[in-house]
Assembly symmetry: C2
Homo-oligomer: 225 residues x 2
């Protein structure tokens, strides 16, 4: 009976974790917002212990900051964190692309490319839902590349990078983000893979990460000031 | 008052986490051992909730497996996990060494080298405490290299790799581990850095990771059979 309860509790913590993280990533809970544990319990209709476990984990992952006697804060993404993410990505992703090149899922790449193509030229007419979809497509492309090497660590790291960047994008306005050039870079990477040119693909991926980094750091510095 | 309690609880969970992990890494709790939550509470003299939170986190990190109605098991390290660790390390570490080369802490390298040198030729006379110390020195050398780029992700990843490998080493016997060749490889890497030859150092690091991987996979396959 004890273990059954334990399982159930783990399930509720996992649910609370998922729900709170979704609210952060969807910008329902915004960076620098402060709220109480009781408010979270009320929003989620989940009890105290699972909410605490979820908050604990999200604070260890850098999404929340627990201020004793003041409340729970949604973390801002710092320039240092953006730098750390892109440094490791630039170091890993082109190499992963080389190692897993023959195993990258081409079918999926065709689909992702066609979706990117359907947005061509629409930079000034994007709805909030379009920008969320483009952000998902972006994550999907990078995950399709990383999944080619079937390495749990690489996958977990990319999931964590994507979550941070999603949180980061959620805290910026549409005007700040360079969708059109970024989409074109994504399409170019895909085209290089589809014509089986591994070195061109690696180079385009490196350039794309470099551009994304420069853009991200520009935005984060603006937010910080 | 509520938040003070929360803080205190976080502290107890963190303590339970640290204690249980230490017992796993020191081989007090051995791979494939099964125990109950009550036994853990008794060993640690810590209450139910912090122990549960700690077990939950350690199971998410792959150190423990929670079997409903059967108990909590210390995980074995699988060949797949060894492969994943070394693949990412081989991909990251030599590149990190290149990027951070000028900032690697030379003072610390001299100390680590001298400690490795003091073990030269003693492969058949190592006590358990010697082997633990050599394992720590090994971790320290790799961390000294990784710390040169001051990247939180890289550091966290290396800490997690080191923990898995320590757990892995703890579950093998002395006879299985190639201390002497590994020490010589470590000394060679350090010498290349100290004479400022970045490419020789990167090459020796790559070779060392490759040899360590081959040895680890040989041991893990023996354990598995």
């Amino acid at each position: 009976m004890k273990e059954v309860l334990f399982q159930k509790k783990e399930g509720l913590s996992a649910l609370a974790y998922k729900e709170i993280k979704s609210m952060i990533l969807a910008n329902v809970l915004k960076p620098a917002d402060i709220f109480s544990e009781a408010q979270l319990q009320e929003m989620l209709k989940i009890g105290r212990t699972p909410v605490r476990e979820a908050v604990l984990q999200l604070s260890q992952e850098g999404f929340l900051i627990v201020h004793p006697r003041r409340g729970i804060e949604v973390a801002r993404i710092s320039p240092k964190r953006i730098k750390d993410i892109f440094e490791i990505r630039s170091l890993m992703e082109p190499e992963i692309l080389r190692i897993g090149f023959s195993k990258i899922d081409r079918e999926r790449l065709y689909e992702i490319r066609d979706e990117f193509l359907s947005y061509k030229g629409s930079d000034f007419n994007l709805t909030k839902s379009d920008t969320l979809h483009l952000s998902d497509l972006d994550n999907e492309l990078h995950m399709t590349i990383v999944n080619s090497i079937s390495n749990d660590y690489a996958t977990e790291l990319m999931i964590s990078f994507n979550d941070y960047l999603t949180l980061f994008r959620a805290s910026t306005t549409i005007e700040n983000i360079r969708f059109e050039p970024s989409n074109l870079e994504h399409i170019a990477i895909i085209e290089s893979i589809l014509k089986d040119d591994v070195e061109e693909a690696a180079l385009r991926l490196t350039d794309h990460l470099d551009e994304s980094y420069k853009e991200s750091i520009k935005i984060v510095m603006n937010i910080a000031t």
